[in-house]
């Protein structure tokens, strides 16, 4: 069996050993780094399948590490930070992190996020149909089916759903969605998003008042849930 290699970047030795211990328990290969510089040199030697990154490193800021890695690598980065405020989450996600887990964390939550991040997204070019749970999105014909039944979406609604589906099980930040759907000049118009998420929910949710497909991460963004994901 091909075991995934995870790189844990964390300056606090206790925390580092607990995280590594947990990950090894779940059957991953784990390498460790205590500083940003150490992490970058480890990546040079051997590219991991994913990285679990603390933001408050003694030498290089975690945001900078993320940005550096993103210049050359595509592997998922899961930020694990004690900074709970949403603006840090948004900044980490906008600078290229795939997910954000706050300390103190629950083991189950961290593992679910890592599993979701390790599922490689299908490159857009190779993809015609996208299945997210019981949602089927036909990108070439721009048609959407919920449990086999077609629903009619407007152009904006489709683009919005498509953006979320390409990043299924990951939080997509407001700015990322607004940039993809409305364009770079509208990245601050969060109210567009509020209105369209509501419209989209009325079309694809069983109970739009209790959404189970498009979930809100307050102050950060939205996440489209595939059936096999985090419950």
């Amino acid at each position: 069996m091909n075991r995934s290699l995870l790189l844990v970047v964390e300056d606090d030795p206790e925390m580092r050993s607990v995280v590594s211990f947990t990950l090894r328990n779940y059957g991953y290969d784990v390498r460790e780094a205590a500083t940003g510089a150490e992490a970058l040199s480890q990546i040079q030697t051997r590219t991991p399948d994913a990285m679990v990154l603390d933001l408050g490193l003694p030498d290089i800021d975690g945001f900078v590490v993320t940005a550096c890695v993103r210049q050359e690598h595509e592997f998922p980065i899961i930020v694990l930070s004690a900074r709970g405020e949403e603006q840090h989450q948004v900044r980490a996600l906008d600078s290229g992190a795939n997910d954000y887990v706050t300390k103190p964390f629950r083991e189950g939550e961290l593992m679910a996020r890592i599993r979701a991040a390790l599922r490689r997204p299908v490159p857009v070019a190779e993809r015609r149909d996208l299945n997210v749970g019981d949602l089927r999105i036909d990108s070439t014909q721009r048609r959407v089916f919920v449990r086999g039944k077609e629903v009619t979406l407007t152009r904006t609604e489709f683009d919005l759903l498509d953006t979320l589906a390409r990043n299924a099980d990951r939080v997509v930040t407001h700015r990322q969605i607004l940039r993809a759907v409305w364009g770079a000049e509208h990245v601050d118009e969060v109210h567009y998003l509020r209105v369209y998420i509501k419209l989209l929910r009325t079309k694809i949710e069983q109970d739009p008042a209790r959404p189970t497909r498009i979930l809100t991460t307050l102050g950060v963004g939205y996440r489209l849930v595939s059936s096999e994901s985090i419950s």
Binding site: Q87, R155, E157, H191, Y192, R194, K198, G219
Partner: protein, 503 residues
């Protein structure tokens, strides 16, 4: 054109009255002539002169009386239609008329002058009183400056400016270079400054307090202005009132700062005592639990070990919540806190909070009822979620895990009204304000559940920062009802589907 008309009207009024009086006396005497004596006709003329003297200056009255005498002589004393001075009797009458005119007009002129002076004093007192009333209801220096500027402009008819001393000890700069120089010199030398220029006269008066020069008041009067006149005294009186009001506000500010510092000190000490107890207890449990397991993993029964580990984790979580609350309080209480507001939907926030509880082990799920199509609110969503989480946590804590708890949200005026209800023991009336105070815990609060009395304090700080209100009521049918409001976002952030150019 209009001013010429006005001047003409004034001139006519000046001449109209004496001419009218003389003419009317002649006409009146002419009418009475067939029935009366000559003395009666003289009386009619005297009547006209007395009437005029009551309203005109001494000069006008005397001149008019002489004219009247000549007219009387001309029309009524024979030979008629000729001027002739025949007997001593009529000369006495004439002299008496002139003297009466002079005396009456002099007396009435004095009376008028006194009345005018009294009116001016009353108007001045009234104006100063109005200024004083407005100044005493103003809260800060900027408002005082605005009020004074408005009153001075109204009183003296011309634009007025009030510049105050900045916290750095300089004077606020005036708009034009000329005013900057003049105001600076008035302020620093504490002197009345007046400069006349073709563009108009500029006056600057320093606002002098007990200890320092507090600012300067500038005036560009339309009419000529003298410092040593009624106007000058009036302006100084206004400026003095401003100085007194400014010092009052400064003093109030100093008192408030001292109070805040004392409050801060009290908070720090109560925080310290709360922290020392509430942080140490879970830590002690955790350390003891961990230590108990070290080196004995083989000997201890797995079930017992699990128990120890479980308490280690739950104490850790309790500690984590506590620290989160303490950090929230310190962030919200710091004066620099600025909300990161975005347009938010109420549904998302309420559901997010409710889901957290329904995920946990609750026998009866929390019911949420949100009015459809609520407008967006302008809020920092995570903070509002925390308000709801704190309220739901309280509801659970005091009414039990299987109680019925519900959240309702609907529009009320320009805001959303959110209500959290439980069927627990409720909060006694005298406690309904106190529960929002720091470290205050209600009478039903369990002794050792990790709570320190910060939850509702945090809620109130958050809701106030959003411009809303929060309060506690008794739920009809028993239990507690906590409700809060958050204003809706501005209209431009309420986007309708049509407005967003979709196809």
């Amino acid at each position: 054109m209009a001013s010429k008309m006005a001047a003409l009207t004034r001139a006519l009024r000046g001449y109209g009255l004496p001419v009218g009086c003389v003419v009317l006396s002649i006409v009146g005497a002419q009418l009475v002539q067939p029935y009366g004596h000559l003395a009666d006709l003289a009386m009619i003329h005297l009547l006209g002169i007395v009437f005029l003297s009551l309203r005109s200056s001494v000069r006008t009255s005397v001149v008019a009386s002489i004219v009247s005498i000549f007219a009387f002589d001309f029309f009524f004393i024979s030979p008629k239609f000729a001027l002739a001075w025949s007997d001593a009797e009529s000369i006495v009458t004439f002299v008496a008329m002139v003297v009466v005119a002079g005396v009456v007009s002099k007396l009435s002129e004095n009376l008028r002058r006194q009345e005018q002076a009294a009116r001016a004093t009353a108007a001045r007192t009234q104006a100063l009183y109005e200024l004083n009333v407005e100044l005493s209801s103003s809260r800060d220096a900027a408002e005082l400056a605005a009020v004074t500027a408005r009153h001075v402009a109204k009183l003296f008819g011309g634009p007025a400016t009030v510049l105050l001393q900045t916290p750095e000890g300089a004077l606020e700069p005036a708009e034009s270079a000329r005013d900057r120089t003049l105001s600076q010199s008035a302020w620093s030398r504490r002197e009345f400054v007046k400069q006349s220029a073709p563009s108009g006269t500029a006056i600057w008066v320093p606002v002098v307090g007990a200890h320092s020069s507090l600012g300067a008041v500038g005036l560009k009067p339309k009419a000529p202005f003298e410092q040593d006149s009624e106007q000058g005294f009036m302006l100084s009186a206004c400026v003095n009132q401003l100085a007194t009001a400014l010092e009052r506000v400064q003093l109030a500010g100093a008192v408030r700062r001292t109070q805040l510092e004392a409050e801060g000190e009290r908070l720090r000490s109560s925080l310290l005592s709360a922290v020392s107890h509430d942080l140490k207890t879970p830590l002690a449990t955790m350390i003891a639990a961990g230590a108990a397991l070290i080196g004995r993993t083989g000997e201890i029964e797995p079930k017992a070990a699990d128990e120890v580990l479980r308490s280690l984790v739950s104490e850790g979580e309790r500690l984590s919540r506590l620290i989160h609350n303490l950090l929230s309080v310190s962030r919200l209480e710091s004066s620099t806190v600025e909300l990161r507001r975005t347009p938010e939907s109420v549904d998302d926030i309420v559901l997010s909070a409710v889901e957290r509880f329904n995920d946990r082990s609750r026998k009866t799920p929390i019911v949420s009822e949100i009015a459809p199509d609520l407008p967006l609110i302008s809020a920092e969503p995570v903070l509002l979620e925390q308000v709801l989480v704190n309220l739901l946590e309280n509801a659970t804590r005091y009414s039990g895990a299987d109680s019925s708890i519900s959240v309702h949200a609907r529009a009320a005026g320009g805001a959303v009204l959110v209500q959290v209800e439980d069927n627990g023991p409720g909060i006694a009336e005298h406690e309904r304000e106190k529960v929002f105070e720091k470290f205050y815990r209600g009478q039903h609060a369990p002794k050792s559940d990790g709570g320190v009395g910060l939850g509702l304090t945090i809620c109130r700080s958050i809701i106030r920062a959003h411009g809303g209100r929060i309060g506690v009521r008794e739920r009809s049918g028993g239990g507690t009802l906590v409700e809060f409001t958050v204003p809706f976002a501005a209209a431009r952030e309420q986007l309708s589907r049509e407005a967003s150019l979709d196809s």
